[in-house]
């Protein structure tokens, strides 16, 4: 039981490390490339900005769900 718990915690920790690295890279991409464009869009065409905002958050959700599920499977698969 203790070995199982240790394995779970280790794989979870590994997931967090890999995920954090991905997130840091993602921040720079999103904030650098989209920041100015989104600010401009929010001032020039607010309705399009609203649609883009929803599309971006749903798109990110689907993408990150895929990434986290992939990491869960990959790291748990190796540790169990």
């Amino acid at each position: 039981m203790k070995i199982d718990t240790r394995r779970t915690l280790l794989s979870f920790f590994a997931e967090l490390v890999v995920y954090s690295a991905l997130i840091v890279a993602y921040f720079f991409l999103v904030l650098h490339f989209l920041g100015n464009w989104l600010e401009h869009l929010s001032k020039e065409n607010i309705k399009l900005y609203a649609v883009v905002a929803i599309g971006l958050i749903i798109g990110q959700a689907v993408l990150l769900e895929w990434v986290t599920t992939f990491l869960f499977r990959l790291l748990r698969g190796r540790s169990e």
Partner: protein, 315 residues
């Protein structure tokens, strides 16, 4: 501010992305576990670092859309979503959310949005917390007296008997004979007036538009106590419904200039992994225990809002 701040131009605020990710992660775990958007923490947490309430409300809604997509998908896989109920509730919630957003606009024009929303949120969050503490502890004590929760049922929470101290109120609501009366086989509800569901969801939507978030803190208890939905199904269905209604709420707030999508995107990176962990944890707890664990959460929001209101300081 402890962490290095970054400038978010749309809302004109300086916030640490690390702070946003941590807040998002905590809200993700809570959302996946309790089926709530977590606005009782996210709203005050954004307000506490200097964001105006109108931006905190709109941005939080956008972040909740993303988080709920992940958690609802996970709950659907666990069999915790009543699609029929979810679609019906979405219609009432959208109407209520629009009324709540208009109310925010009115207060913004009057110039006292921060003060009024702070006071209302303190009252609402405290009331919900106290009520759920009273009800769930009473139910847990009653179950222990009757011995209805066996050891194996506690270990497999979703199969445990889901009792509530408000069975009388639930039965009364189920007997209201206003046409059309429908059944919800997935939730085990044989007959209920469609209008009861619509009114419950409208009230939830009103709070969603006014205080931000998916308003799961008020809708989830109403689904359990008024509609008589088992807690695990209420959690999953609430999340599914939030995806639809929060998307509408985000659009409505965004066209009013109340959404900083960059802040929402950063917060959501933490919430994405937290939501998966929270949803998996629900399998290990019985309904009344989940409701009892929910009790301290709105009080955290109350503490943050009160601190910001009284001292005028950012965290």
């Amino acid at each position: 501010m402890i962490f290095l701040a970054m400038h978010f131009p749309i809302s004109g605020t300086d916030i640490s992305p690390i702070y946003l990710v941590i807040v998002g992660f905590l809200i993700g775990v809570l959302g996946g576990f309790f089926g709530v958007g977590g606005s009782f923490i996210a709203g005050p947490a954004l307000r506490a670092i200097g964001m105006h309430w109108n931006f905190a409300v709109g941005t939080d809604l956008a972040h909740i859309v993303g988080k709920s997509v992940v958690a609802a998908k996970r709950h659907r896989a666990l069999g915790n979503v009543d699609l029929r109920l979810g679609f019906i509730m979405a219609t009432g919630t959208i109407g209520g959310a629009e009324c709540g957003a208009q109310l925010i606009q009115f207060l913004k024009r009057q110039g006292n949005v921060d003060f009024v929303v702070s006071i209302v949120s303190i009252i609402i969050y405290s009331s919900i917390s106290l009520f759920m503490m009273w009800e769930s502890s009473r139910t847990v004590r009653s179950q222990k007296r009757k011995g209805t929760v066996k050891k194996n049922e506690v270990l497999k929470g979703r199969h445990a008997k889901d009792e509530s101290s408000f069975a009388g109120l639930t039965n009364f609501m189920h007997r209201i004979p206003i046409w059309p009366v429908i059944s919800l086989p997935t939730s085990g509800v044989k007959a209920i007036s469609l209008w009861v569901i619509v009114i419950v969801s409208f009230i939830g939507g009103l709070f969603s538009g006014f205080l931000g978030g998916g308003a799961g803190y008020i809708r989830m208890p109403m689904m359990v106590y008024i509609l008589g939905i088992p807690t695990h199904l209420a959690v999953g269905t609430d999340l599914f419904e939030i995806v639809i209604s929060a998307s509408y709420g985000t659009f409505s707030h965004a066209v009013k200039g109340n959404v900083d999508i960059l802040v929402a995107l950063v917060m959501h990176t933490g919430a994405a992994i937290g939501a998966q962990i929270g949803a998996i944890l629900t399998q290990y707890f019985a309904g009344p225990k989940i409701r009892l664990l929910f009790v301290p959460l709105p009080l955290i929001g109350v503490a943050i809002v009160t601190y910001t209101l009284v001292t005028g300081h950012k965290l």
